[in-house]
Amino acid sequence: MFYSIRHITRFRYAAPVHESVMEIRMQPRSEGPQALRSFQINTNPRAQLYAYTDHFGNAVYHFNVLRAHEELRIESQAVVEITRQQVLPEAADILEWERYNGYNLNHDHFDLLEQSKFTQPSAALTAFIREKGLEKPDGDPLTALKHLNATINEAFDYESGVTEVHSPIDHALSEKRGVCQDFSHIMIAIARGWGVPSRYVSGYLYHRPHSKDRSGADATHAWLECYLPSLGWVGFDPTNNVVTGERHIRAAVGRDYADVPPTRGTYKGPNEHELAIAVSVEPTQAPVRHEDFLRVARPMSSPTPTPSMPERLYHQQQQQQQ
């Protein structure tokens, strides 16, 4: 199965800004059943692109634009082939829990057991866990995680605009609503609490015509992966209550959203900006030709603005000493 993915991000600033610096994590990963066949990024204004692989193995592109500009547009285009899918057993065996030990886990697994920025335990999370009887996993890890996936899916309404990109999980927990990012963070926090190494995945989802997916077709998607010693990484999509399959295209993995935002940047100039994002995922047989491709969305990330913050500068200057 081949997919063609097109992802456009456009920042419009209230007044000309300069010295934009941007990092991009949009390149689909090439591993397991997923193979990257082509990838390109264009920016406007044009800029020299640099790349590196971060410590999670994600391809990161970065660039800077010195001269004044009122708009910054990033367009990426990828072709991905998804070959075979791992066939998962109905359940893992109950002894799987014993296998979470130093022989089967490496550093990265252990790192993914620690709390991270968006997966901090909290009173609201504890209450949720108690309410749903999730203190201890029920049955073998795979069964327990599937149950967790379904529980979260059922407990929350999908609604964009309630939470923001930097919202802690408490926000969604108290509202009982949220988006893919919130659900994934909540599930990660609980799974890690069970001792299951879990990571956040940012990527794209192919929505079949008439699909019942709750997530929007025109945005990036997020889910998580949990490590099972005898099965490897298994993807769970609590937004759509599925184990991930050939429709999930993985772009970047990390401890949580903070490690993998599609764009992260700073610039010098006034704070106000407007962000528009468009995403399309199509089987390549159907070439992408959208007339009205862009739409204005809520800001997804907030580039750090203007140097003119005397109070903050003052406090931060005082703090640095050993």
Partner: protein, 491 residues
Amino acid sequence: MSAHPIADANPEAGQPPFSAYKLGAAYDEMFAADGSVRPQFAALAHRLTHLPPEELQRRQQACETSFLHQGITFTVYSDKQATERIIPTDLFPRIVTAKEWEKIEAGLTQRILALNLFLKDIYTDGRVLKDGIIPRSMIYGSKHYRREMRGLPVPHDAYVNVCGSDLIRCEDGKFAVLEDNLRVPSGVSYMLANRDVVRRAFPNLFRAQGVRPIDHYPRELLATLRALTPVREDVSIAILTPGVFNSAYFEHAFLARQMGVELVEGRDLLVNDNVVYARTTSGLKRIDVIYRRIDDDFIDPLIFREDSALGVSGLFNAYRAGNVVIANALGTGVADDKAVYAYVPRLIRYYLAEEPILENIETYLCREEKPLAHVLANLDKLVVKAVGESGGYGMLVGPHASKAEREAFAEKIKADPDNYIAQPTIQLSTAPTFVDGGVEPRHVDLRPFILHGEKTVIVPGALTRVALKRGSLVVNSSQGGGSKDTWVLSH
């Protein structure tokens, strides 16, 4: 605390300025327990007893004026009115013998080697974790662990280029390491400035004693920084300061002047195509090495805290690309964590297959069950410290705390045991200090500065911090401490 006047055994018996000097339980730098003057202090004691008190006071005053004039001040901005203050300097030097120094030097060299190997290990293979020498969660759970540094090569494998280790002298007279400062240690400018004024106050004494020079520190620091970059000609080095509101700002300015390098703030720098430049009136000037005096978190808003107004966007990517060197490397704080501290002797054995030359202070890790119980049961005898803090913050000094304070702190420990360690209260050694025209014992510690890059250099000197309040054990300048010149003798 048993205290007795030293007059009987002292050859300068009853003579001012030592008439009020009372020895306590702590080791005293100048007087042996029987009240006799230790040999290294003999000449100094003789000289000082022959100086009239007014003369001492005059010299002390001259020294303070000199500090003010050199701008060796820190600025208190409390009420929006900037007042320039000096960190009080005591003119009475602290003396370290050649033999003592030899051990300190060897011990610190051993320690910095082990700590750098440790940093390299946890940012690459993680052998030490696989071998179970140190718990994984202690590293991965540390707020100073920088995953971005994984697999990134650093010049000469030297992560820590400038280290300031705090040593104390225990009651038995042995030096032990209290903590390592591996991120942005400060105080070296006081070491240099103290020397400057003391040399002027007692020029003759100085020569006769055979005090080893320290004035080459800025040169050695410059050489250390220079050797970190492959650039050989016109190496451009800058000190990155948080700015004028930082209490160590004068030190940043002082070192920049002494080394003849640029003093920059984050807003002076920009990154283009992975190269770092400073914005000058004559155009953009490329920067090869940054001696940074701001914390990791703030150094690059693109990668770390995005609300940082002090950093430079894109700096880390320039660093990753090898176009600029940052000293100290990022992520060194994971190794000066107070919990990791407890493991340093084991790290020395693990990496160097040697016994530690300098001792550690006995440390109870609250993350472990038994030590935690011990700590909670003995709070009145222990000093408890938060793991990631420095500068005397987040700390409980058990014997000096009220019952209510101890109980409140116990709750904090129970809520987050991983975050605390405890140590027995240690009687820091005392050293003679001028107080109101006389000389009295005050508690001191010792912070030597270690430079590490292509090679390891320790300038024979240190910052001796002194708790100026009688009986106080807190020497931090942020908590009312002062400092002294430290003489390392050549024989």
